[in-house]
Symmetry: C2
């Protein structure tokens, strides 16, 4: 197992052995053992099940203390009332990390749940075992072969996610995969009675394999340490936070999810202002911001050049950008004159937004000839390509090929210019347009062009990314 640094938490992502307490002997269901085997975990796996001799051809043991060699990491897949004793066994065995998958603790809002949680946590802390959970999915780390989703991508990337929600973590992993972005480490840590967001952040701040940190959090227990850890990260890499449970009933729902105290909105508003962390409201938005941060380097200002359908679509696109805090100024006179040479009949449609000759061939042609001109424009900082494929919602022959051709034309054109570029590619619901957009997104994101599913997502993300770059400038 490659260790990327000597931080004590590093072994949690790269354990040399994993015991699964409550390993399922039913081969028809996907348990933790099968998941680790299928995903390619290379360390030793010890199934713990007093009723089985062998699970998936691995020798099974009645208890962790029956395992001959050392165990670095243990997953507890047993009912809550059995967890305290299992934790005692782990302490006795010298296990370093315990991931308590089991639920049924304080999130049930019962006396017994709270008691079991307190007891388990005390055993872990006294015994110097680090506890992830309870009530969580644990770790996904493609480099070491650890996963909680059997169909998560095996590719390693440079994004880390700290999430109190396993489902939202899964969604983010897949949304990023759709645009060829991958994770180095994902932690789903549930009720967070021992290991909590601040400690994960401190680890990720110095983790050389992580460039961007995303968080889904409902509550924070040690608020000063959390602020300090976020600040520490922000000095080195961006932190995006989806703070859930900021509305009245959202907070109540969160209390029943991870027993979190979500905190007042005003406190969190102040937090974002103070730390410069990037705030997001949905997982889709988190994925858009990740994509922008990864693929939009060097943003010198908030002035957007828009290439796409003009007319009303151009007006609305401009409104959306300006509402998001961006600026859509007219091009310089020089740019206008140069554009007039390649589009002599376009007149006012060259102002910004600029409209290529209608049709997808016209768009492809303009990417080659027009992009270098707009690259030189002194009035704009970034180029937004708007591809409204939903306008071909009826039946257009060869739509898939034509949209793909436009995307293929954009790839080298984008490569050859200096300004950053982003694409808003939207489909509507017609199957033809949906498939054409899927194909084009694949072509574009594969070469690192950021693609958003609507202008609003592109504009809001860009505005937040610009805010982050300004924050970096101001903290120099």
């Amino acid at each position: 197992m490659p260790a990327d640094n000597n931080h004590p938490l590093n072994r949690m992502f790269h354990p040399s052995s994993i015991a699964v307490v409550g390993a399922s002997s039913n081969v028809s269901e996907t348990g933790w053992v099968k998941r680790l085997l299928d995903f390619g975990y290379k360390g030793e796996i010890f199934p713990i099940n007093p009723k089985a001799n062998e699970i998936y051809k691995l020798k099974a043991y009645p208890n962790v203390h029956d395992v001959p060699g050392p165990i670095e990491y243990t997953i507890l897949n047993i009912p809550a009332h059995l967890v305290p004793q299992a934790m005692r066994d782990c302490v006795a065995k010298g296990v370093k990390f315990v991931h308590c998958f089991a639920a049924g603790f304080s999130e049930t809002a019962t006396e017994e749940g709270r008691r079991l949680e307190a007891e388990t946590t005390k055993i872990a802390i006294d015994g110097r075992v680090r506890l992830i959970g309870p009530n969580c999915m644990g770790i996904y780390c493609p480099a070491s072969g650890m996963t909680f989703g059997e169909d998560f991508p095996k590719e390693t990337g440079r994004i880390a996610l700290i999430s109190q929600s396993g489902a939202e973590a899964s969604r983010l992993i897949f949304l990023c995969q759709d645009v060829y972005l991958y994770f180095t480490k994902v932690i789903n840590y549930g009720n967070a009675t021992d290991l909590d967001a601040p400690e994960f952040l401190e680890y990720l701040a110095q983790d050389m394999e992580t460039d961007i940190i995303a968080l889904y959090i409902e509550g924070v227990k040690n608020y000063p340490r959390f602020i300090s850890a976020v600040k520490q990260c922000m000095k080195k890499k961006p932190v995006i936070i989806l703070k859930a449970g900021l509305t009245k009933n959202g907070a109540d729902v969160a209390a029943f999810h991870t027993a979190s105290i979500t905190g007042a909105k005003a406190v969190w508003d102040a937090f974002f202002k103070q730390t410069g962390a990037i705030s997001a409201q949905t997982i889709d938005e988190v994925s858009s911001i990740i994509q922008g941060l990864t693929r939009i380097k060097q943003l010198n200002g908030p002035r957007v050049a828009i290439i796409g359908r003009g007319g009303g679509i151009g007006v609305v696109t401009t409104d959306i950008c300006e509402r998001a805090g961006l600026i859509v100024p007219p091009f310089s006179l020089e740019t206008h004159e140069k554009l007039l040479q390649i589009r002599p009949d376009a007149g006012a449609m060259l102002r910004n937004p600029v409209e290529p000759k209608l049709g997808l061939e016209g768009a492809a042609d303009f990417y080659l000839k027009g992009l270098p001109i707009i690259d030189q424009d002194t009035e704009t900082d970034i180029i937004l390509i708007q591809m409204a494929v939903d306008i071909y919602g009826g039946h257009k022959p060869d739509l898939l090929q034509d949209v793909s051709a436009a995307a293929y034309a954009l790839c080298p054109a984008a490569e050859s210019i200096k300004k950053p570029i982003m694409v808003a590619l939207f489909s509507g619901g017609h199957t033809d347009t949906v498939l054409a957009v899927s194909a084009a997104r694949e072509i574009l994101t594969k070469v690192g062009i950021p693609v958003f599913s609507e202008v609003e997502a592109a504009a809001r993300s860009l505005s937040k990314i610009y805010g982050y770059y300004r924050f970096l400038e101001s903290s120099k």
Copy 2:
């Protein structure tokens, strides 16, 4: 041609004959004549082209005055400088309506463009010809076979659209088609030098074939008449308005699109407050609101019951709804107890949002057993079904079939309950999930269940629809 009423503008949508001045004799391009023929316009078509004898087997004439019988409607497809003379010819011929497709007028911001526009308009008004445009696509009315998009649906519905943008009109037509909603009349009227939004609104207010009116507008010339027309409509049917050009540069772009003076944001804020018209910021939002208004009847309050993935997804869904001005309260104790009987192991996941047993089969089962219980809940007014198909972003065998089966299970269940229902169905970008979502949307919308592509769109639309129903109550 069926005439739905005796309003003078009615013949504009149902003319008995159409002349196309500047009819293309090139059969390889889709001109106005071919478009009308293909779309099934049943009246007489007179191609006007001094260089052709016959176009698409129709006798061509050098000028409108050479046509033997009367002409009710004429499309001008000629360069702007020829338009004034063509308009004189139309006046002399007694044409009732002229649609000036030609551009090159005041939107060019040139002296000559403004002069040509003023001259053309004066000729029309003095000659008692009603002018649509210039610089526009004209009329789409499936019942009479008039269209400006060759692949627009032939189905007639009960939505009317007044739009200064042809492209945004096309997008809306297709977005609605994707969810089985259709239009009765669409008017794209460009620079609006004679016929303008107020007059179209007055017509649509009393049009028995129109239930919902949508507008895309950049500017209004006669503001008092516009307000009065909107108020007149709002007494009988909802009016949704996408007011474009409300940001600084958006306004400038609009000026070059339709030569509109867009007006200050404060004025429009006051307008929406005063008239109760429903404000939208994008065409996607217009389509969502149309779907909601059409399919959510009888909304007694803003309290939402959510069925879908719980945990973090439930917290975020609750936040999104409450941010949009809706309420996600806990169910009544009675509801909770009944739900506990069908989901005895679910504990807190029954509070609201309620989580069916995981997996798509679990969802389908819950729609049958759980919906009738939530239908009886006294604390909630509407049911939001959240189907996060993007969570199956990797590889899941039979995803299309399983998602379709869940959708099929929902159809009769939704039919059998009293509370309104809406679905947020989201896919992520993976082709498998995208196709599964397309299939499910088709199944659901075909039977009239409103489907939205994200929770945000569903919540924002619902909030606006509830605002409209409250406005109706308060104006009783």
